[in-house]
């Protein structure tokens, strides 16, 4: 079936929030949140159009937009989406909107705040649709800037230290990626910034082995892979709720996205050669993240470490290189966006009421505020991978995929242990926060408001839908992933 | 005796070194500016000399020298204005006291 062509749809999705930011800038502060919400909804609508016109049967790039940008360097303004990016764009637009709802009653410099959120969305969308390395890198860096200000201006007590640390840490990864990009450009086999073309080029084995590692470490900082996670965990503690949600929900995904968009298709032999290492680090992340999360009393820090564990699963799927593993990594990335976003939102709601993030001080939320407790339990249970909710799908696919691949079988066992340990720390949160007699600090907290439910509701619903009908997500992702897996198999031989 | 190019280059070098010495050692900002002017003029002499002896048909060097004199005039005007402003602010034009940018 020929799909209707919508011209400049991707540009619109990417730059509409930027336009929104400019509009908010000139309008009075009291209009800021409604204007922001309007632009976010419009962007979400455009993403809806994108999902509708996107052909779920073709594995290749769609809706390509191309225009010369810096002709002397062969740099183009090149946008396009395939199954991998279209889901990520949807996630980014959705979470951005949810975050606006979540910070609806911001009183601290609301105008600047909403401008930052809009700028952030623009950058995130851009990362996922850019197909020219220079453009990609621009967006890759772009997202850090609003994130920096979100942490530095609206963060908690130690914000400026953490914002700087986060920024520098991310920059370190970016530098590696820039190195990789330049290396590919300068290599005679490459000599282009066009990511679609680069994915078809055959680099010599030695080059692939070195540059794959360069990219891997660059992306690992974003994912984050153990031991490069401390920039994130600190940032999560200090960041306001919205910052944590977008950071864990979307920014982390740029790391796995980079692996799937850049490292694997462009350097398949390198990927094959280092699969054992990527898998090993992933297993380390799973175990480490899960162990640290268990004791950690600071809920936000605990969630940050649980993200390390979950993204470890995604990286294990990527290391496996099988269709199941890669599909699993994508589903996991998406589901993690929803679920961790939800978790951070609910923890933020509880924090706003009880003014503490320490689990031992929060006992008994379930009795005092049943809806809040219920939402937290729901999120925790989907995070521990209950079948029927989104968290299970990715973990299970990765588990099968890792057994199917050439990776050592012990990796699968570790992943299985990770599922157990994931259940342990999530149930421990429910145990400490939801269950029990209300502690002093929660004894008077009000239950969730309508807007809280409206914020969390869509995420919960989507979690359940994806968990019960995997096809909702897989139908977008699978064709592209299938071709990627075939390519990995073909080119790595 | 025919005055060759080496004389001009020698003169230019002497002037440049004097200027450099002045710029590095004088305390007064005005003296430093004057030293800088000396160095610029050393360069001018060089330009004219090379132009005259190497490419006598083309006047590029001469023109450059004139161009530089104009720029130098503007520069000295700006420099003196800065020195004046500085003096009003700090009551001194001795550069050893002007270390606001110390790291």
């Amino acid at each position: 079936m020929p799909m209707p062509h919508v011209p400049h749809l991707l540009s619109a999705i990417t730059f509409l929030p930027l336009v929104g930011a400019l509009v908010v800038l000139v309008l009075p502060a009291s209009w800021a949140r409604w204007t922001t919400a309007a632009f976010m909804v419009a962007d979400l609508g455009l993403v809806g159009v994108l999902l509708a016109v996107f052909s779920r049967t073709s594995p290749g790039m769609q809706l390509i937009e191309s225009a010369p940008w810096i002709p002397s360097l062969h740099v183009n303004y090149l946008l396009g989406v395939d199954g991998i990016s279209v889901t990520m764009v949807a996630l980014s637009a959705l979470l951005s909107f949810v975050v606006v709802l979540g910070s609806w009653n911001t009183e601290d410099r609301p105008k600047t705040w909403f401008i930052m959120l809009l700028l952030l969305e623009s950058g995130m969308n851009g990362v996922f649709v850019a197909l020219d390395f220079v453009l990609f890198y621009v967006f890759w860096e772009w997202v850090l800037i609003p994130m920096y200000f979100i942490i530095a201006w609206w963060g908690k007590e130690n914000r400026s230290y953490v914002a700087l640390k986060f920024f520098l840490y991310m920059l370190l990864g970016s530098v590696l990626i820039l190195l990789g990009i330049i290396a590919m450009y300068l290599h005679p086999a490459g000599h282009t910034f066009n990511m679609m073309v680069l994915a078809t080029r055959q680099f010599p084995l030695g080059f692939q082995m070195v540059i794959f590692l360069v990219f891997y470490f660059g992306f690992a900082v974003r994912v984050p892979v153990w031991p490069f996670h401390t920039g994130h965990s600190d940032a999560h503690i200090q960041a306001p709720t919205a910052g944590s949600v977008t950071l864990a929900g979307v920014l982390l995904k740029t790391g796995t996205y980079g692996m799937l968009r850049v490292a694997l298709p462009m350097l398949p032999q390198g990927a094959q050669h280092w699969a054992w290492f990527v898998g090993l680090m992933a297993c380390a992340a799973i175990l480490y993240g899960s162990v640290v999360s268990f004791w950690q009393p600071d809920l936000k820090k605990m969630l940050a470490y649980s993200s390390v564990g979950h993204m470890g699963f995604a990286m294990l799927g990527i290391a496996s290189g099988t269709v199941w593993g890669l599909d699993g990594a994508m589903v996991l990335a998406f589901a993690h966006g929803l679920i961790t976003g939800l978790l951070f939102l609910v923890v933020g709601m509880i924090y706003d009421r009880a003014h503490t993030r320490m689990a031992p001080d929060l006992t008994g939320v379930g009795k005092q505020a049943p809806v809040l407790g219920g939402m937290l339990s729901f999120a925790a249970i989907s995070s521990l991978g209950l079948p029927g909710l989104a968290g299970f799908v990715g973990e299970f696919l990765v588990l099968v995929g890792s057994w199917q691949s050439n990776l050592p079988k012990v990796y699968t066992i570790v992943a299985g242990a990770g599922m157990l340990m994931g259940a342990a720390y999530m149930l421990w949160v429910i145990y400490r926060v939801v269950y029990g007699e209300p502690a002093e600090k929660v004894a008077r907290i009000p239950d969730a408001t309508a807007i809280d439910i409206a914020t969390a509701g869509p995420l919960m619903a989507l979690t359940a839908i994806i968990g019960m009908n995997w096809g909702v997500l897989l139908s977008f992702v699978n064709p592209t992933i299938t071709r990627l897996a075939e390519l990995l198999l073909l080119r790595s031989m | 005796m025919r005055v060759g190019m080496e004389f001009f280059i020698g003169l230019s070098a002497i002037l440049f070194c004097l200027g450099l010495y002045g710029a590095l050692s004088k305390r007064s900002a005005v003296m430093i500016l004057m030293s800088l002017e000396l160095m610029a003029n050393a360069v001018n002499i060089n330009l004219v000399a090379f132009s005259r002896f190497v490419t006598p048909k083309v006047m590029t060097g001469q023109f450059f020298a004139v161009f530089m004199m104009v720029v130098a005039a503007a520069e000295i005007g700006l420099g003196l204005a800065l020195v004046l402003a500085l003096y009003r602010q700090t009551q001194t034009i001795e550069v050893q006291f002007l270390n606001e940018l110390k790291g």
Binding site: K165, L168, Y169, T230, S233, Y288, V291, V292, F294, W295, Q296, V323, W324, D327, K367, P370, I381, L386, P387, G388, F392, F396, L399, V400, S402, W403, Q404, T412, G416, A417, M419, L420, A423, A424, L427, W428, I430, Y431, Y435, G436, E437, N469, W470, G471, V472, L473, L474, S475, A485 | A23, L24, S25, I32, V95, Q96, L98, N99, L101, K102, G103
Partner: protein
């Protein structure tokens, strides 16, 4: 035939609705889950009949199936299958009958609870998951339903979550069963990679072509999953604690249905176990150990629910013994009869607890004179559990003993026989402590019989318990297993053994005697058994050790990893501190540096040219 889909979906729909409704509204809509449950039950009857008369072919192909596409992975679609076959048909009836009974019972038992709507929602979700599990035609759906049941069990155990015992028990139950589930999940991965399908009908025939290595691995992993769910040694520790939940929920989940799911899984996968001889022996070993340990521990408990919980553990072990002989009918028939008489016992215990407001048998007594219906029905259940003919427990126990003997598993046979004696012993002990005589504690004298909502399910269940034993042969034919009427020797042996157990208990506890305290307290064996063989301690140590370990790793993370990161930062700053001294702020210093640089460049250039 597609109405069968509605059987699991009706309760699920109720859960979905109750999940979004506010508490006040759903608390008033309790008729809805009841109606859904009744609907499922009614639909299960034609479903059961449609599978009739069962037999080899029906088991091999199923009588109805429908596939649901979860998604497409790679080029292959991934479907989950609902399939009706005799196994499923029989379980449908069990689950819906007990489920409906429990829901009616709970109307009275849970009345006035603030979160009763939520209780019913979870009960519905559980029933739905259990029905999905029995109808599952493939391992994936089976696993998914299996996990959802685990969640419901967790939620119901922790129903009174402000109570410390409940919240401890709930997390323990989930995690211990999850240990098994991880094995199950890895087993699924191996199955998929080996066969390329999860469908029972693709996997089980293919198992015969596997090497014994793969078959053993898969079978042991599945068994590991089953051990978690069915509370088999050494993963049994969660079940006694799970009694912190509401009693009717215990009756449904921790007696009749969910805990039997592990047995059902092994029964379903028996062809894989048979390919690997090792796995069959493992089933026997685990089953025998658990049966004996459970029965001994049940014999020294004072909490009436805990006696029943250990009894459940022991009986589940018995089922594994049956399956370990390769006789599906033996294992599943006990599953069937046990579902009815054990839920009956739990409901009876609930009725007593509801009336007396205590669970401690030392505070009970004299119930028989006041609660006639409860006494009669409970006694029927107890006799069935003890294996007294002609009640259903006798027939199912006989089947297992028979196949153990026929399979020359003499050690296991001896274990089974001792377990039978212990079973009769602890049930008599319980009965003597609770029913005859006068109330021991006036605070808990109780004195009123429960209302019809509580009693009617018990009456129905006791009628079933009385009659269902005679269906053994029909049942075996239905699920294509083997069974015979009890032979005189075996039947009288087992009855005699049970009677011995009863007599011993009567001697020790009859007529209000309580010699247990005096004679046994000091003995080593008693100490061992009453401390649950110290099997909780390793788990406590693991939990504690893990917490400490986690704390240590947190320290490591903060100090070492973050220290390195910050160290890099500090090093950069220090280096800058050194370098900044060059920045004097004096123009002339800079000039000199520039001059030095220029000279250096010239020297280098000249040097390079010279070379």
């Amino acid at each position: 035939m597609n109405y069968i889909i509605a059987i699991p979906l009706l309760p699920a729909a109720v859960f979905g609705l109750f999940f979004v409704l506010p508490r006040r509204i759903r608390n008033r809509m309790l008729y809805l889950p009841l109606a859904a449950m009744a609907g499922s039950f009614v639909l299960s009857i034609p479903a059961f009949l449609s599978a009739w008369p069962g037999g080899e072919d029906a088991v091999r192909t199923g009588t109805w199936h429908v596939a649901y596409r979860l998604g497409t992975i790679g080029t292959g679609p991934l479907d989950v299958i609902l399939r009706l076959d005799p196994y499923a048909a029989m379980m449908l009836l069990v689950v819906t009958i007990v489920g409906l009974g429990v829901q009616i019972y709970s109307l009275s038992y849970m009345r006035g609870e603030e979160r009763i709507g939520w209780y019913y929602a979870v009960l519905s979700l559980f029933t739905s998951a259990m029905l999905l599990l029995v109808l599952a035609g493939d391992y994936l759906l089976f696993y998914m339903a299996w996990e959802v049941m685990g969640l419901c069990s967790y939620l119901l155990i922790g129903f009174w979550f402000t109570d410390n015992a409940a919240r401890n028990a709930s997390i323990k139950a989930f995690l211990v069963t999850r240990v098994g589930d991880v094995g199950f999940a890895v087993g699924l991965a191996i199955i998929w990679v080996t066969v390329g399908s999860f469908d029972f009908h693709a996997v089980l025939p293919a198992a015969t072509t596997w090497g014994p290595g793969v078959a053993t691995a898969v079978a042991l992993l599945l068994l590991f999953g089953a051990m978690g769910k069915s509370a088999q040694f050494p993963l049994h520790v969660w079940l006694p604690d799970a009694m912190a939940g509401p009693t009717p929920a215990s009756a449904l989940i921790h007696a009749a249905t969910m805990v039997a799911a592990g047995v059902f899984l092994v029964a379903r996968s028996l062809p894989i176990f048979e390919v690997s001889g090792v796995a069959m022996h493992a089933v026997l070993l685990i089953g025998g150990t658990t049966a004996l340990l459970g029965a001994t521990m049940g014999a020294v408990q004072y909490d009436i629910k805990k006696v029943l919980a250990y009894s459940t553990i022991s009986q589940l072990g018995y089922m594994f013994l049956g399956l370990g002989t390769g006789n599906v009918a033996a294992g599943l028939f006990l599953l069937l009869t046990h579902a009815f008489f054990k839920s009956l016992l739990f409901l009876g215990a609930g009725s007593i607890i509801h009336s007396l407001h205590t669970q401690d048998m030392r505070e009970m007594g004299g119930v028989a004179s006041k609660m006639k219906v409860t006494t009669v029905t409970f006694t029927i259940g107890a006799l069935a559990l003890a294996g007294i003919p002609p009640l259903s427990g006798f027939f199912s126990k006989d089947l297992i003993l028979d196949s153990l003997w026929a399979g020359h598993h003499y050690v296991a046979f001896a274990v089974a026989l001792s377990t039978a004696m212990l079973t009769a012993f602890y049930m008599t002990r319980l009965w003597l402590r609770v029913f005859p005589g006068e109330p021991r504690d006036t605070k808990h004298a109780g004195g009123h019989e429960s209302d019809w909502k509580i009693l009617s399910p018990m009456v129905v269940l006791s009628v079933i318990t009385l009659g269902i034993g005679f269906s053994a042969i029909v049942f075996a034919k239905f699920i294509a297993g083997e069974a015979a009427w009890p032979q005189l020797v075996m039947g009288s042996t087992s009855t005699l053994v049970a009677l011995v157990g009863i007599v011993i208990a009567w001697v020790l506890f009859g007529g209000g005697r309580d010699t247990e305290e005096r004679t046994a307290r000091s003995s080593f064996v008693y100490l061992l058994v009453s401390n649950k063989y110290f099997l909780d301690y390793p788990y406590e140590h693991i939990a504690l050790g893990y917490t400490r370990f986690s704390e240590g790793v947190n320290w490591f993370d903060r100090v070492v990893i973050n220290g390195v990161v910050n160290g890099v930062g500090v090093a950069c700053r220090q280096g800058g501190g050194l370098l900044k001294r060059m920045q004097t702020g004096r123009v002339q210093t800079y000039q000199r540096l520039v001059l030095a640089g220029v000279i250096a460049f010239i020297v280098i250039a000249v040097y390079l040219r010279g070379v």
